[in-house]
Every structure is written in structure tokens, then in C-alpha cells.
Amino acid sequence: MAERFLMKGNEALAEAAIQAGCRHFFGYPITPQTELAAYMSKKMPKIGGTYLQAESEIAAANMVLGASAAGVRAMTSSSSPGISLKTEAISYMAGSDVPALIINVQRGGPGLGGIQPSQADYWQATRALGHGDFHILVFAPATVQEMVNLVSTAFDLGDKYRMPAMILADGMLGQMMEPVELPEATETQAAPKTWAVDGHEFKRERNVVNSLYLTPNDLESRVKARFERYENIKQTEQRAEEYLTDDADIVVVAYGASARVAHSAVDLARAQGIKAGMVRPITLWPFPTNIVQKVAKTAKQFLCVEMSMGQMIDDVKLSINCSKPVNFYGRTGGIIPTPAEICEEIKILEGAK
């Protein structure tokens, strides 16, 4: 077993990106993700990488667009208000088929909101990180170790499918320390980026990275081709963890920080004789529809637990074609629910059944 370190989530995200071969970070300070950038600013100069504090989130995202288009692994990180500002650029990345890693260490909103952990950017991440028809890969780690692992997955799949990927974390995961094992620095095994704009040197056709298609038919066929890729991704890249679902009557669906709490709540409920279980989506896009569907065959009802007013609940309902009741329990504004209050909710639902 490799050595376990204690690392803050934000720092682990940074180190994992470096291990995954990322040498280009463009960011702009915002709580609660500042440690990520601080870590990069310390490390990058020592390993010949670029840490650049941009003038804004918009500039940072566009620098990532440029660097990724030039063929390197590039990333940016921010928190909720800063992510809103990046949406135009993210839509361009998607429309130009440029991969990139974007990290959202969510905080409470709307507006300036607060700086405590939140999961209220689920809809933005899964449906509308900008204008137009597109999706990006969205990963939802629940531990610092999983953050480390998913960073390289996000880079790999982003490169593979030529699309941006997001790690949707939150202030709790970003700020906490947990033991982590760092992977060996892995050489990027991705296919050569023959589409990159880095000078043709008269050795290949010139490359163009672009999202403009003035002829509607061209634009439509681009978009449709992309959605075929998405269909394929939906089939192959869904990820979720199941916990005690085999015999569960009531299945909690929760991701990230709230999944940790829900996990404890399921244990509490089991201790009280309630057959509770959990599905923890690890990919939010694609949503792990297959697993939720499978669980719905035996479960009697679902309980979505989110640190928001309820955004994932639609995806759970749609996954199971509304075939079972899907309930909701959520806290918002930066409040982390307690296992006890979730367990209470489970008990009420069991009673109400």
C-alpha cells in the first residue's frame, strides 16, 4: 500500500491534476477553493508548469480554451459565482470539441450567497453550463481520495471524447483533510491530439478550432454528431456506488458531501431495523440511470438528499420513469444536514408508506 497522506481536498485536487500530467492552470481566487490555486502557484513553477492568476474567471476559462486547443491538459477551478461567469467559454469549449477540466467547489447561492458548502449548482452542471445544446462530463466525488481518482478520470475521458469535464465538489470536500494515496505520476496515454492548433509546420493540414457554423445544416449535423457521442457515453460511462440496496425498501440517492451524511443516516436507520440503502451517483452526467433503474425493481421508494432545494430529484424520477415515489430532503444555504435529521426523514417515510 502506498503511503497515505493527510491532504485538504482542494490541495488533493491540485496534486492529482499535476500527477495526471496537467501543467497549465488558470484561475481566479474565490472561497472556498483558494487552496487549490495556492497549491498550484507553489508547485507549477518548480516543475516547469504554468500557474497563471487571470484577471477574471472569464479570462481564466478562455485561457484554458486556448491552452487546451493548443493540445495540453489545462484546467481551471472556481466556486459557484465564478462558474456562472465561465459558462460562455464552457459552451465554446463544448462547441469546439475541446477538452478541459473545470472544478466547481460549490458554495451557497444565489448571488453572492454565502461561502459554506452547497450543492445548488447541480442543474447548471448537468444541463446548462452555457447556452445551446450540449453536455459536459460531470463527476461528483465524495471523499478526498475519490477527488484524486476522478481528476485523472476526468482528464482521460475528456481527452477521449473531446469534451470538457467538471468535478462538482463543494466547500466541505474542498476544505477537509482526509487520508489519500496519490497515484504514481501517470504518463498521459491519450491519443495524440492531431486536431490541436500548435503550428502545422507544413507537416499536416492546418487545424482550425471553431464553434461557428453559419449554415444551419452544418451546425445541426455537428450538434447531432456530438449527441451521438453523448449517447455512447451514456451507455458506457455511468458510475454509481450502491450501499445495502439489495434488500432496501427505501433507497436514498445522494452524491458528494450529502452522500457521506446519508451513508451514516442509512446506518442509523438500519440500526433501527429499517431496510434503508443508498445509491451514490459518481457521474452526474451521464446520470447513473441504469443503476437507479435496477434498484427501482426492488426498492419501494426513494429519498433524494441534497444540499439544495432539490435539483437531482428530477433525474431520479426520469431514470425510473416515475415508477416509484421519489421523496426529497434537503438543506441549503451552506447547511450540511446531519445523519440524524435524514434518518428521521427515512423513518417518517417508512411510517407514511
Binding site: 472561497t31 466547500g171 476544505q175 477537509m176 483533510m177 482526509e178 487520508p179 451524511v261 450540511i336 446531519t338
Partner: protein
């Protein structure tokens, strides 16, 4: 038994560092651990607190809302958390800075004049570590070996000369 601890006080008292030593001790013992600081503008205002969990099982929420161990290093923190401590829990009060008494009788309280002790023993700034020493005595959150190793790990290389002082502070706490 799992440790679900809150340590709280003024910024500058080494709250986060003390928490990290506890967390590292658990790590060295091969336990599951988590460490979560409070963050945000109140850090500026002067208060800081930190949640630490050590457990054999995966840790759910790292935010400790009902601690079974609470170390209070100033008055406002004492007030804020004292009623959330689990019945049967352990409370350690920095009694050179807090001149209140715990009114609950369902928790086990120790009063340690850590700042005064530190001053007396030429360990200025190590009141936090003295309190950890005391905690160790009250609640063996890790092996003693792991605790001392944790100190070595956590003191930054630049301040390696302070390792001995930290160890001394631990002992002082254990014997207080």
C-alpha cells in the same frame, strides 16, 4: 470508540494545528480520519474551530455537530459548543483564559490552565499542544507512538527545532 472532536478558540491559538496532530495520530494508527476547519470571514473576526473524527469505519459527515470530545480555548467558543457535547463526553477547558465552569453534570470536565503552564515552562504558544496531551490522557485517541510520530510529521521542516518543545508540551499536558 470513535473520536468526534471539536477544538475551538481564537485564531492564532493553533487550533487547526492541534487538530491536525490528533488527525495524524489516527492516520498513523491506520484509522479512518477526517479534519474539517471552519472557514470563512469569522476566521478574521478571531474565532476558529475544527472538527476531527477518528474511526474504524468510513467517516460520514466530517462536520462534528455533537462532539464526544470538546476542547475550549476561549470564552465565546466555550459558550458556542458546550451544550452540544454528547452526554458522557469529555470537555477540556483552557482555564487560564476561560473563567467559567461547566454547568452540565453529564460530561467529564478537565480544567487546564494551559497558557499559564506553557508560560511557566518556557513553552509559549504551545498551550494548544498541552491540551492535546491532556486529551490523550483522558481519551486515548491513538497509540502513544503514533501521537509522537504525528508531532514529527506535522511540525514543518523549517521549524524542526520545535519538535522537542512540542513533545515536552504533550507530556506536560498528560501529567497536568
Amino acid at each position: 470508540m470513535s473520536l468526534n472532536m471539536v477544538i475551538a478558540g481564537f485564531g492564532g491559538q493553533g487550533i487547526l494545528f492541534a487538530g491536525k496532530i490528533v488527525a495524524y495520530s489516527g492516520l498513523i494508527d491506520g484509522k479512518e480520519i477526517s479534519w474539517l476547519p471552519s472557514y470563512g470571514p469569522e476566521m478574521r473576526g478571531g474565532t476558529a474551530n475544527c472538527s476531527i473524527c477518528i474511526s474504524d469505519k468510513a467517516i460520514g459527515s466530517p462536520l462534528v455537530t455533537t462532539p464526544n470530545v470538546f476542547i475550549a480555548m476561549n470564552g465565546p467558543s466555550f459558550d458556542k459548543f458546550i451544550n452540544s457535547v454528547e452526554p458522557g463526553g469529555i470537555v477540556i477547558v483552557e482555564s487560564s483564559l476561560i473563567n467559567k465552569k461547566v454547568e452540565r453534570d453529564d460530561v467529564k470536565v478537565s480544567y487546564v490552565p494551559a497558557s499559564a503552564l506553557a508560560e511557566e515552562n518556557g513553552l509559549k504558544g504551545l498551550a494548544n499542544i498541552i491540551l492535546i496531551g491532556k486529551l490523550f490522557k483522558e481519551f486515548g485517541f491513538s497509540s502513544e507512538e503514533a501521537l509522537y510520530k504525528a508531532v514529527e510529521k506535522c511540525v514543518p521542516a523549517k521549524k524542526a527545532h520545535l519538535i522537542e518543545a512540542n513533545k515536552k508540551a504533550l507530556e506536560l499536558g498528560m501529567n497536568s
